[in-house]
Amino acid sequence: MEHSFIDKYSNLDSIIHRLDPRTKILSIFIYVVFVVLTSPNKFSEFFGYSVLIFILIFLSRLPFGYVLRRSFVIFPFVFLVVIFVPFYKFDNPVEIYRYGRFFIVWNVLIKSWLSVIAITVLTSTTRFSVLLKGFEKLKLPKFLIMCVSFMYRYIFVLIDEVQRLQRARDSRYFGGKFFLQLKVYANIIGLLFIKTYNRAERVYQNMVSRGFDGNIRILNNLKLTSLDFSFCIVFSLIILVIKILV
């Protein structure tokens, strides 16, 4: 069965790919925070941030179409905001000046769009295990990191399982009353839970029998190089220039 693996472009070679994951995590986090903190009427600042992120995409050699397609996930939410905008009542005139109806939509659209692109660049240029190692080096709780890495490992296995159960249902069952449908649906979930629980126990036994002691080791030992330092300096300088000068 085919899965679209998120890090399918992570084996390309570019400046961005060669950076240490810590550098990328921190830079992208700072970028997202700066974008979110920008006031919606500063169009030139948003222009600067857009140019910056598109330069990053260009440097990382990710296909533009791929990044754009991934960024469309935010549109349902923007649409939700658009629905509510006509109902917005402004109590005092200062608010209209600060947040007109247009600004409400513009605010969420540009901020969420730039952030989503930034996170896509981060996760598409880094192998997921290396990314998690970076988070671990940044002192996030190891327990949580291991849970996330397990989940990532088993998502695809369980999606296959779900598709098998769905195919079994579709080949035996021809629709029916609403309640019956819910019941079949619930049985699938229940069966999936039992299979998953059994799998978790087997996985743990297998890990213990192979000497698992609570640490996950990967071969790649992370090292900060001069490239990382220069990237950090240039990246934060650009953000500061956009913030202060533009």
């Binding site: 998502i155 779900v162 743990y204």
Partner: protein
């Protein structure tokens, strides 16, 4: 309802991130102390289960379809802290890999679905069970899972309204109204799933809650 970046203003996302961060750190400490690394695969694989279950769509009226959130189910089966960890793991992976929910809004999403939708559900469930006895526990399950959806959606609407993204007076009734319908589906499914599990593997209902 995964809130993306930029939908919340600074005071909202910052304070919710702190609340969720503290809750998560406490849950990690608590689960780590109790069972240790044995629960790593369980929570990781259960997170993948919740994620896979959320991929299944079921038909709601008029051609639309909804999906299962699973917060109440996770905490009723595994316990409040494990439920919180499972939901948080799901949300972190959805944020990083599928761009479902933003980085700065991660704290708010964990608050809505992990703390309100899962952690809180467990205590409500055990309270109802204590008051009503275990005979009609299925009604408790229904109420709790219905409420988990409605409360998550309402908190989401309130957070968006505080951030001046949506008007409170319209958005809160709309979100709560729509989700009280979706919640009926969630409630029925959670009851049926628990009924199914207690028929086939009754021992799994009584595993130690963390």
């Amino acid at each position: 309802m995964h809130i993306p970046d930029g939908f919340l203003d600074t005071k909202t996302w910052l304070s919710l991130s702190i609340v969720s961060g503290v809750a998560l750190a406490y849950a990690v400490k608590k689960v780590g102390k109790k069972i240790g690394e044995k629960h790593v695969p369980l929570i990781g694989v259960m997170s993948a289960f919740i994620f896979a279950a959320q991929m299944l769509n079921f038909p709601v009226a008029a051609g639309t379809s909804g999906h299962f959130m699973g917060g109440a189910l996770a905490s009723i089966l595994l316990g409040p802290f494990a439920g919180l960890l499972v939901m948080s793991t799901v949300l972190i992976v959805q944020c990083l890999i599928f761009q479902d929910g933003g980085l700065t809004a991660l704290g708010a999403n964990i608050f809505n679905m992990g703390i309100i939708g899962s952690f809180f559900s467990y205590y409500l469930y055990s309270m109802i069970k204590k008051l009503a006895g275990s005979k009609i526990f299925i009604i408790g399950v229904f109420i709790v899972s219905w409420l988990s959806i409605v409360l998550s959606a309402s908190f989401c609407a309130v957070e968006l309204a505080i951030s001046a993204t949506v008007p409170l007076k319209v958005a809160l009734p709309a979100m709560a109204g729509i989700h009280s319908l979706i919640g009926i589906g969630e409630g029925i499914i959670t009851c049926l799933v628990l009924g199914f599990i207690s028929k086939i593997r009754p021992d799994l209902i009584d595993i130690e809650k963390i």
